[in-house]
Amino acid sequence: MAIQLSIISYRRLIPLLIALIAISASISFTASTFLGIYDTTTNLMGDCGEDMLVIYGASARTPQTSIIPLTVYEKIVELDGVEAASPEAAAIALAGDKAIIVRGVDPTLIQEFYRIHVVEGEDELSETFSALAGVRLARKLGLGVGDLITLRSAFSNNYVELRIVGIYESGSYLDDELLAPIFVGQWLRGLRRDLVSLIRVKIDLRKLSKNDLILHLRGAREAKKKPAPITRSSIMRLLVLPHARRYRVECVVRSPRESMESFLGREVKINRATMWSIVFAVIFGSTLLIYLISTLMASTHSREIIILRSLGASRKRLMLLLSSAIISLSAASSIVGFILGIFISSMFSSENLIAMGPYTANPSIALEVLPITVLVAVVIMVVGMRFELESILRGEYGRV
């Protein structure tokens, strides 16, 4: 046992350990980046439980680009079991030369769906020409409380100047957006006052199911109404038209994540497996380098191996000895590399180097990557080591 321990010089293995860490870090970085991009996109409508739903136009590609009449809101808000509903008008606008998402909301209603924590300024959108900036957006555009920002709509001829009254943090995609009163979203989206992009709904599953809501919207089944009359917020009262136009729009009701996953799968043809295939491509690309490292590990110990062989050590024993070193080396480097990869990914994310359009992609921690990396590294290194050991024992390194 004493002989076994003395032949592996761990000092000589340091460069190899660093190389394995670099490979593992690149795999972990790729996984957390690409899975992060996918997860950020699927969570663009929020990542919540079954009681949170999104109502949007059936013909729209995404909830954000949909247009539905505000009468849908009127229809559902009075249903027994609907705990909260928030109509939203999302638009793309240019602030200077940067495209940003402006979400027109009723500030009191949106609070039911997100924990919006104001880090600076106030949370009241008391004036129409005011806005709350997400913390990441504020950093990106260099916005502070009291600043004025002129937005040019990408969809209509409207432009609007808003005063930033607060900067908020929600821990969601909203941190990359500008929240403004709902009419601002409608102007920038080029919508009439009785149209919105989507309606977010929170339901009490004991009283109302998703199917009940769908059937009620289709007019196939009448759902039970709330006993007490509804009190509308001041902003929503302004939007109500005395003679509402009739629109013929078919709506879909989906969970926020489901709505985005269906968009990615149907329109962009991307799913989680696509992202994993990129991770596997990086693993595949690194195989020969791992192989090279294993051969180097053996060749740097060629003299010791030959001495042990001369002393009577069998090939199997030598292989066992080197394999134990490989396993410990691979496991240690994979763990360090895994953590390093996530750290680099977070750094790239915080520097806004990895983004999905206007949204910063948050890195995803894919723990599955760690055993895969260890397994791949061990298998390739054992194979590489075996070949190199044969070369050494054939005397190819004997003279050095």
Partner: protein, 381 residues
Amino acid sequence: MTSTFIPALRSVLNDPKRSLLYILTIAFLIMVILAPTAIANGYSKQLSDLIPAYASSRAIIMNASANTVSTSVLRYSLVKELRKHGVKEVYGELLIRSRLMAGNQTLNAVVRGVDDVDGFYRYMNIRVNGSKLGGEFQANVGILLAKRLNINLGDELNLVEGGAVWRLRVVGIIDCSCPCDYEVLTSLNTLWRIKPDLKDKISIVELQLASGRRSGDLETFLSESSSHVKVLRERPFEEAAQNLIEATFNSIKNWTLPLYAVILVAAYFTTTKISIDSQREVAILRCIGASRRDAFSYIFFKALLIIEFGIIAGLSLGIISAEVIFRALSLIFSTGSYQPPSLTALDLVKTMCLTQISTVAGAIYPALKVSGEAAWRSSYQ
């Protein structure tokens, strides 16, 4: 030094198995970087092509040094100059934020002064309940603002500006599904009376170019008229979409950056392995009188040749694999109309430069190390 190039090349060719292993080690890593970049370029181009080539004929003119509309100050004479230049739809507007009092309610509101009321209302598709602005100190109020402050036709608004209270009579309620819905509109002359320091000044000019007129003409005219202004297109959909596409696909390019560090590591270990493999050859070279420098150049050339072959193989594999992956995905998802993967000249130059730097940086140290050891090694022979 160049005398060692031919032996290095021969050595690479004489051991094709090992050489191929080293070449492919570098090539696979380059392929991993290039294939997603090429596919992303194809998707990016596809999306860019999908953007409708729409250029709005409407524009806003602002002071070039102003970042926002209300901080922009322009001469009103610019409007006259533009009209004289033949631009038919030109509207000078002055925007201020003032304290508004109606009944017992107060609010910070935007007051917009316009010069050509009829033209502006037509331009903005504004519907009026009541009458348009006629005389001085009359106001049209946006429907949302009117609802919010319970303002009705014939009511009076009090505008607090510069310590004074100005009284405006509401002659119309306007509705346009635009920001004017929450504003007070009045004539430019009225606003100049309220804000005398802004007399003959406006914030912005809104205009529409007649069909067949190019925006370049306007920009030339504005630069000739020595106006310190900037022209911003309205409805910049193409610009915004392009901005979003670039932000997304640049992420893929940014993702490749740390992978160059792995290429550096690969180059280092490839050269180290080449050095170990070549110890016997280096020892022989030293025995027949080669200097330490020659030994270094021999190893370095050998490594460089492997690396260059690796880069060429990597570029080819990258492009081929991108095509194969793309075709396979197109077949699976039936997306035949998508743009095939492509690499821009800039991508190629960037990849080649970064790979070259990483690989040469990775190769120098092991080559130097083994050339230093060569004399000692040769004594073993």
